[in-house]
Symmetry: C2
DNA sequence: GCGCTTACGCAACAGCGTTGCCAAAGTGGT
DNA sequence: ACCACTTTGGCAACGCTGTTGCGTAAGCGC
């Protein structure tokens, strides 16, 4: 079977799982909160189980009562809500020329932001220093659960190692996650910028169907894929190489070694100012992807697409079935930083762990 | 978060999960079986928990002791193995011109097979009758857990409904699963033929990495995708439309409404006898897919590919990174029937349910 | 024969969600 | 005002889970 779900589960895992499920429902419920009975209905747990679980969450400070609802014919429900301040996470967006960081509370609201430019020839050590400095400035309040770092791909999410980032060959192989974790004394998660964006978008629209593609058109062309409510990374975090699909056999050569890649064609059209062609190409690639994976909707982002979004939305929409909505990713560039923070928060809420819902027994 | 994993879990779910995990490990262990200590190490469960779980499995007839291992310095281990005869499943492969069925035991071994031709204008009711007849002839021994049906797409796996199967427009919308289930009095699962094949291949090589693509080149061109050890179907079982990716902008029109689809180009090359071109086209499509999803390996199947496999394997391999192995899917056409049976068996062994490892409490 | 290691079961246990029951607090009919 | 009813939610006892501590079986090496 799979390499992952061969794992047994114990009572502690059961408890943690249910706590995360309830916490996730509380977060999705937002400001209004949710009553114990609602939580029971949505989770499939018994009302009594929910009472016990929420009692633990309240004792730990993660949840609190928040007034009464109107009666629906019986005793009025007591609303419970997430206590946003019970924990924080830092998201860091590493770009080729800048580092942006933000602290986010449990509800996903941005508490503070920082940004700093990155000199063009920065070494990996310099990068660690800059990021550590930004994070330190943000975590002074304490209560920070961890740091999520979104960086340009390719990279290794599992190992936390950078690969051959275009323009920064000397970063290749650098264990950014562990270096940062040691320097900061905090847990660190590393992922591709497009994956972080997809995670952020997943968070901001939890009620939407389970799969979408975030297409990022900036200096390159990549994608973040959410399949079945989970970010799909692939074994080596290599998924999302959306730009390197061949759309024109024997087309112009691409640095990746093949010919007629979407990225080459599309970026050339952008350079030529032919936005309509670029949009059409993007649409054809999106249609390939949507057909292949049966994806529910498409979101566009990236500096180039955001600078003049309408023709891209129209062009992509024209190539897709009418059943697949196309829109600009809300939040602009901000989704990457927030998604990076979400890399830390998601496990608390029972997301991002479908394959390992139940961890093995502690050693 | 996802639409699926908002579900809480109770002790019954915990027990079932662990039982399935252990049963899956026993099946993967094959003839030789596995000791309780090995099961404990692989599952992460306590040895004592494994003892209890295997005691239940033995009491239910699913597992049995199978001799002693050699000592490794202490008390020799007692091997446990799956009892293959404890349950059976029927797999049915519906093609446009034939129906094949097979009974399979818990270990996946084929116990009996049947095949019958299907007249070209068969109605959906005729199909139900033919399939029911084949299944009835096979289940006489009893102990059958369910029936898995693999049919040409598109179809709806969740609803168990056929869609517009090429050449059989009158099948569209027919609820094959429920019709069969009622007629047979057995649980029925319906899935696309390519997905069944992928599931069968996943079963036959459980130790391999977690993702692969099964590319099926026959009268059409489709794919079965296994991502992270799970078959990826998409929300509407529409995933795997591998043949309708555009490889040549403004190429020849395709019945799907677009132009330059891989399927059109590839089938035309096949019709022209230009196997090398067909193979190269298949390879380019495969490379697009491998890059997009970070897939570990590629398996080829389908009548056309199997008739003359070498050029296809070579052609596809030439377009892929060297790190991605390409091979002919072992078992030929047989994988579809066996995979269909696996649709029934997989849930017993803890596979195919990563998103719903823990079911909600019983109503 | 002795010490050591490994495999595994028995018994007591802590902790999980469940069940049965009851109190609280509204609505709506009379 | 009163009563019947509905809905919310807690308390206590319970059944069942995997865990822990310890004892026993059964091999190896010296």
């Amino acid at each position: 079977m799979g390499s992952v779900s061969n794992l047994g589960a114990n009572l502690a895992a059961l408890r943690d799982h249910n706590a995360a499920v309830v916490l996730g429902l509380l977060r999705d419920a937002g400001e209004g909160g949710a009553s114990r009975a609602e939580l029971a209905a949505r989770s499939g747990l018994t009302p009594q189980a929910v009472s016990k679980i929420t009692a633990r969450l309240r004792a730990d400070g993660f949840a609190a009562e928040a007034g009464r609802r109107l009666s629906t014919g019986g005793k009025p429900a007591t609303a419970l809500r997430l206590v946003p301040g019970a924990g924080r996470a830092v998201g860091v967006h590493v770009e080729r020329d800048a580092v942006t960081a933000a602290v986010v509370d449990l509800a996903g609201a941005v508490v503070a932001t920082r940004a700093v430019a990155l000199s063009s020839g920065a070494t990996a050590e310099t990068l660690v220093g800059v990021v550590a400095e930004e994070v330190r400035a943000l975590v002074e309040g304490g209560g920070v659960l961890g740091v999520g770092v979104a960086a340009p791909g390719p990279l290794d999410h599992v190992g936390g190692v950078l690969r051959d980032v275009t323009g920064f060959p000397h970063w290749s192989g650098f264990p950014l996650r562990d270096a940062l974790a040691e320097r900061l004394g905090l847990p660190v998660v590393l992922d591709k910028d497009t994956n972080a964006a997809a995670l952020g978008l997943l968070r901001s629209a939890p009620r939407e169907p389970g799969s979408f593609a975030y297409l990022h058109l900036g200096t390159g062309l990549g994608a973040g894929l959410v399949l079945g409510g989970e970010v799909h990374r692939g074994a080596r975090t290599g998924a999302g190489e959306f730009g390197h699909q061949v759309l024109r056999l024997d087309g112009p050569p691409c640095p990746c070694g093949r010919r007629g890649c979407l990225e080459v064609l599309c970026l050339r059209a952008v350079a030529d100012g032919d936005t309509a062609l670029a949009a059409r190409l993007l649409g054809v690639g999106a249609a390939n992807l949507v057909q292949l994976l049966d994806i529910d909707r498409v979101l566009l982002g990236g500096r180039t697409a955001l600078a003049d979004p309408d023709p891209y939305v129209r062009g992509v929409r024209a190539e897709l079935p009418a059943s697949v909505p196309v829109a600009v990713a809300p939040g602009g560039e901000r989704v990457v930083v927030e998604g990076a923070a979400e890399l830390v928060l998601a496990p608390l809420f029972g997301a991002g762990r479908a394959g390992r819902v139940l961890a093995p027994a502690a050693p």
